[in-house]
Amino acid sequence: MKLAYWPGCVSRGFTPELHGSMNLVAPKLDLELVELDRANCCGAGVIAEHNQELVDTLNARTFAMAQKVEGAVGMMNICSTCQGAQSEAQERLDADGDYRDVVNSNLAAEQLAYQKHAETDWWNKNFLWLLVEEIGLDKLRSKVVRPLEGLRIAPFYGCYIVRPTKRLGYADHPERDQYLEYVIDALGAEPVEYAGARKCCGFPIITMNRATSLRQAGRHLADAIDAGADCLVTPCPLCHLNLDLQQPAAAKFVERDLDVPVLHLPQMVGLALGLEPKALGMNKHVVKTKDVQRKVAQLAAA
């Protein structure tokens, strides 16, 4: 499957292990990724707050570049926040032809234009959605060479990929807020049920209200630990920043030890597809992943 690929900013910035692991996993799943290396930031909700026409133009630019990729069935992202911010722009662009014209006129100098399509013809999907809807869980299962048996994994979705349901295609795909559990199960691991899976990691306000932000992250991590999770998994690198990079600070705000590793979605998939933890960048986490690595090594031996 050929795809226009938008990796996002953070996956190449503070979580380079995300972009790296995606690049290793893609060929294992027969995905041909054409990276949109001239595309720009989605705005992450912040530029939307600053100027809507600006953020819609920036995202229309990315879509237009993706639509130009010959033979690509759609566009893939690996960040819940990119998905949400881009879906928001796309909702407005698709809703109103006049508005779309205004936005496209901002792109004319670059000979780019966003074309509205039915979802059957062109789409922008997070890797999580793509795994379930385009690749399929059966095919994913058939690719597993190292079932993650015995690993208890707590899903953490990221707000932007679960709400608002109306904008994010839940009418056609009502189970999108269950996909992480489905994928964890398909890889042979056990999904952990806990309160925080679809709540907010707090990251967007880390510079504005640090206590509230880290109390959110800390609570969800604590809930996952109390539910018996070996690790968490997230399709959102921004959540990863608050859950992993900030975890030692978050522990102070919830006044307890945390120390639970957080995997990126492609890392978890890569482990089950036989890739080595180090190659997947699992040594580049703040919270050490060695317990998860040891369990995976034991699986390989057995």
Partner: protein
């Protein structure tokens, strides 16, 4: 008539007993409401069930509860659909809303939280100057922008669902901030700047919303409180340049400036620039900003130690190839006289093929 199983969370703080669950079977048509189910159970089986309701038509906003974990008006939720969502053989779980103390069973104390927060934002008009001889006259189109926030029925569903408030009960919250926009956006109000400054400077105010969309998801009237909060921020930073002590102004400026300059986010500069009202120099030299930077040093060190951030990456960020095109978009859009905002609540969806559907009302005065 199908039979539905309701599982209600029961609690009476005055009893001294912990909360418990009660289950009831009710016979109702699928299109009847969850509220009707609860009232049927109360009338026929257990008169002690506590539920607040009045209009039964999604107008009075009295019966917001959590149904299968999601906040909604009980009168506005079909019992058949709720049963479907609960899944095969599972009861429909009904609980009181989060973030507010329970008075009894499904009734929460709206005065203690919701109404108190609404009072906080001065929810009445504060016009400038002497009142006109007769009524205030405003052009109808100047009121359209606030019709969305005026549609609020004060049911508190967004307050119960707010994930920021869950971690920080002091947060002003979605309903009250949407109400604040109702007055900030009202052309008759004369205290726009003061209102915005007050909310921006509140440590648990305008900049404590995390963009989690929980309020947007649950609002039965499509008020989208989070969108009203974003409008407040847009006014505060864009129109009034209000520099606040919470770094709200700085964060937005920093982010926007970085994308304008580099095309993608230079994360290492986001923090110092946020603390310096968008300026890197100020963020690294002003005493207040430096203090905040030092607080964040352990995070930076963790990033470097884990190997995810290299010193080079921290100092240097590559520009996108063709970045001048991104810069040009910023210049062009910023140079426009009107700041365009397409609010689908107002213009409606499905205007795609109609020429001129994008009404003037989509334009905000700058």
């Amino acid at each position: 008539m199908p039979e539905y199983k309701l599982k209600l969370r029961r609690y009476d703080p005055e009893s001294g007993q912990p909360a418990y669950w009660s289950e009831y079977d009710v016979d109702l048509d699928a299109e009847r409401s969850v509220l009707q189910g609860i009232l049927t159970a109360r009338d026929d089986q257990d008169g002690s069930i506590g539920i607040r309701c009045s209009c039964r038509a999604a107008i009075c906003g009295s019966c917001a509860v959590r149904i299968n974990g999601k906040t909604a008006l009980a009168c506005n939720t079909a019992i058949g659909e709720a049963a479907e969502k609960a899944g095969d053989g599972n009861p429909i779980v009904v609980e009181p809303m989060n973030n507010m103390p329970v008075i009894k069973d499904l009734i929460v104390d709206m005065d203690a939280v919701h109404w108190k927060k609404v009072q906080r934002v001065v929810p009445w008009l504060l016009p400038d100057g002497d009142p006109p001889e007769r009524e205030y006259v405003v052009p109808a189109e100047s009121m359209i922008d606030i019709t969305q926030s005026m549609a609020c029925i004060q049911c508190g569903a967004c307050v119960g669902a707010c994930l920021s408030m869950e971690a920080n009960p002091d947060f002003i919250g979605p309903a009250a901030l949407a109400k604040a926009y109702r007055f900030v956006g009202d052309p008759r109000d004369g205290q726009e700047r003061e209102r915005l400054k007050d909310l921006a400077e509140d440590p648990d105010g305008l900049y404590t919303c995390t963009h989690c969309f929980a309020c947007v998801e649950v609002c039965p009237k499509d008020v989208a409180p989070m969108n009203q909060i974003m409008r407040l921020r847009r006014r505060a930073t864009g129109d009034f340049g209000i520099k606040d002590r919470n770094n709200g102004y700085g964060h937005e400026k920093a982010f926007v400036n970085l994308i304008e300059k580099y095309g993608t986010l230079h994360e290492a500069q986001l923090l110092p620039r946020s603390f310096g009202d968008g300026s890197l120099l100020k963020g690294q030299t002003e005493p207040g900003a430096v203090k905040e930077l030092i607080e964040n040093l352990p995070t930076a060190i963790r990033g470097l130690k884990s190997g995810k951030v290299s010193p080079v990456k921290a100092l240097w960020h590559h520009k996108l190839p063709g970045q001048e095109n991104v810069k040009r978009i910023f210049d062009e859009v910023h140079a426009k006289e009107d700041r365009l905002e397409l609010n689908l609540y107002i213009v409606g969806e499905g205007n795609d093929e109609e020429i001129g559907a994008m009404a003037e009302i989509a334009k905000e005065d700058v």
